[in-house]
Symmetry: D2
Subunit: 261 residues, 4 copies
């Protein structure tokens, strides 16, 4: 399906403020970008670079006072995400080199603390895909999904204590649990068609059966409509914006996702 995404960010900074943004989707095996726009109002000089995860990042210094960023894209994505019940666990020694980094603990996914808990949640399931599916189901039933409930990322340990969180929080806990079973897992940030309430979204992927599969603890079923803008170990790697210096007086974020076909 073709989706048209749009994100409008507005800031009111007291002083000129450096920003690093991750707002430009790029193509991959699962999505194709047919049209895309990135407006800066007022226009300031901006640089783009590719980070070590392959994400397109933009670097600029936002001027003081009002500053608006509008990005929009037409992206072709799959109707349903692939599922693969029974897909096997991949032995550490058989994992591709560049997947190994997703086994390690990271800022918001203290996987070194979740081995025992993960083993309990996944007990009785075939090693691999089915374990991850059990983790996602457990998250859906046990951790309350409360959109808008947190401003700044909290780590998997805290999510587990609060038993509630935003999409990013559930994903962080899911990732920590997967890694606790030696299953590589990573965070994806982007858009989801028909998300309610509409906003930027976060989900996770696990590496089983020789490839990455999509899991979303906030959504039932396996409907597609995901547009990725960034991949990383957790939200510390994939912030749609990082700002340096005093916080903005005001920030607003408006997101829409529309189906085109």
């Amino acid at each position: 399906m073709w989706l048209r995404t749009r994100c409008e960010l507005t800031f009111d900074f007291a002083v000129a403020t450096p920003l690093i943004l991750m707002l430009r989707p790029h193509g991959g095996a699962e999505q194709w970008v047919g049209r895309e726009e990135y407006r800066l109002e007022p226009y300031v000089h901006a640089c783009e670079f590719t980070d070590s995860y392959g994400n397109l990042c933009q670097r600029l210094t936002a001027p003081a006072d009002d500053f608006t960023i509008v990005t929009s894209a037409d992206v072709q994505v799959v109707e349903r995400v692939d599922t693969a019940p029974g897909a096997p666990f991949v032995d550490i020694e058989s994992l591709p080199d560049d997947v190994l980094i997703y086994l390690l603990p990271s800022r918001y996914c203290e996987s070194d603390r979740f081995g025992q808990m993960a083993a309990e949640i996944a007990a009785g399931h075939t090693l691999g895909y089915d374990q991850v599916a059990a983790i996602a189901a457990w998250l859906r039933h046990r951790i309350r999904y409360v959109p808008g409930s947190s401003d700044v990322p909290i780590s998997a340990v805290d999510v587990n204590l609060r038993q509630a969180g935003v999409c990013r929080d559930l994903s962080h806990l899911g990732i920590a649990l997967c890694r606790g079973l030696s299953i590589p897992a990573r965070l994806v940030v982007g858009y989801l068609h028909a998300l309610a309430p509409m906003d930027m979204h976060a989900w996770f992927e696990a590496y089983v059966g020789g490839r990455w599969y999509t899991f979303d603890a906030t959504q039932p079923g396996s409907a597609g409509g995901y547009v990725a803008i960034g991949y990383g170990r957790d939200a510390a790697d994939v912030a749609i914006f990082n700002q340096f210096g005093p916080p903005a007086n005001r920030t607003s974020q408006q997101v829409t996702v529309e189906r085109l076909d």
Copy 2:
């Protein structure tokens, strides 16, 4: 200045044909992409990846019969390219690691054959930028620039024999001469505002004084208006398309570059 580029490629393949394309400009220190479009008619599944030079590449299998690719972008670029008379030669031991590859000979730039000739052309000039400027001036005066004169790339040795060539050929000879002086040089492919006749364009960059500088042996002065889509050692690295299998019955390429502001 803001430029709107457009490139329309049409093919008529006898059989389904794999293509690797390099048609999506991306941002860097010198250019910012504000809008961008990539249409496939008919639409086929396509994948995007980043090559080892950082270029965005698209991979797809074109269907038999008519196939059209239309790409378009609004890009902000500089009015004048930077020049730096006197900028010094950088010692081999001080070059950044990732620049070293641009010292070596490559498919169309047999720099190992041009040491003597480069030394003669650049004789009497300060080591560094001025040597490259002398090479570019020599190319302008001695190698006839004949747009449309060659279909397939020829190497620097052949360009030097023919004393004539397209923009890519002059660039290849320029690169081979720079490398012959141990100055890193690379090919850039993209668009140039007000190029006559309008077409895709190629120019080169040399690394002196601690950064890359733009040189164009086909143009006088230092007007800007360059939109880069790919960087590499020579045209073997930066083809706007590589096709695998029997050649197309027909290929056409229409390029426009329009100033927006």
Copy 3:
């Protein structure tokens, strides 16, 4: 000076256990490896790869029962580490792309929590090197360095609470404080000549004045003798070994560093 390092790790695993190791130093701007040895007893098939930070990593499956790894290297390193009082802070917009990752919070360096505290510690110092030097001095005076006091890494927040830690802990807090001032900082793991008691060591580097500088909150002065084996955002990236599966019955680690000239 030439140093001879030696590290002997012995394990007693109940079952065959996958390991990812980081025990082979490699050359860089600051060190040259003249001789090097990596023995596996008993010998098992092992693979080597380079991670995204450029570290050499070794992957193997350790057999059940006794398994010993002996690594040794002769490395030429500097007598004194470079210092640069007054070296300026580098603006976010001027940092090299590959340095940006070291500005972000990571598993053991929750820099997003340390902005205020870092500003207080560094108050009154010139932006840049002097701020980092102030942080290192503060760590030396305020956080007790207790070799052998912790087994598993604790994060900067916890180090700050305990006011004590091993070399890795002090480094984590130093890194979190630097990043809190928008100064890129990274962890280095390796050997230090004349460290007492002798063991593997960890220190940190900060990026100011256009390059990385070494800081060590556990050592006075600026004596050299550092042999690096891994660089990363924190100890989650640079473990000398990661094991997957049940813990070893017994692990021992013997380290020596000897001066050769």
Copy 4:
């Protein structure tokens, strides 16, 4: 089997001369480095870096007059290289991204000129491994292997004209022919046990059936004993040394490979 390699290079330079060397083997799926040595006489400051192909490279400035480099390594390699008759051709659209670069023409492998000839040599063979085996057999029968016959690399077109060459030349022609069939192929430089006369060696690999396979047009059978030190598109990428400036008055190279077990 365990092999001990040794290479001694001696130079007599008129002036201090920058060198980029590729003389340190590193581990991979097929080889493990158990001991290794790299001596510079006299000792000069040297830096090491990893190039875009993953090879370890050393950069230094050799002093005027006598300069000697001695490298030695103990490497565990396979007794026989893997063969896979019938392993299928991999469609362009299914090749891993990082393999695609090995489809393109390069300095010494003008594969764009060899499509027709490759098709004739491989006619009647199953697409994939068997085509490459046919090319290797053709090289063995038709191109005379004359160790020591050329000093500087010549390109595949010239090798084909001369019908004779050193190991590197036969490999270049083999690579050009493979790529002419849209089969990725790359050059490997290193050591071969029991090579006669003993010297550095070059062979090639082709990507079929989902992985790289070793081919050597200078050797019958599929005996192992290969120690790789560098991989690349051709000899322009993988020179054991590149020097910049006037040629040495004298260069000598002594190589030994000894079996340890």
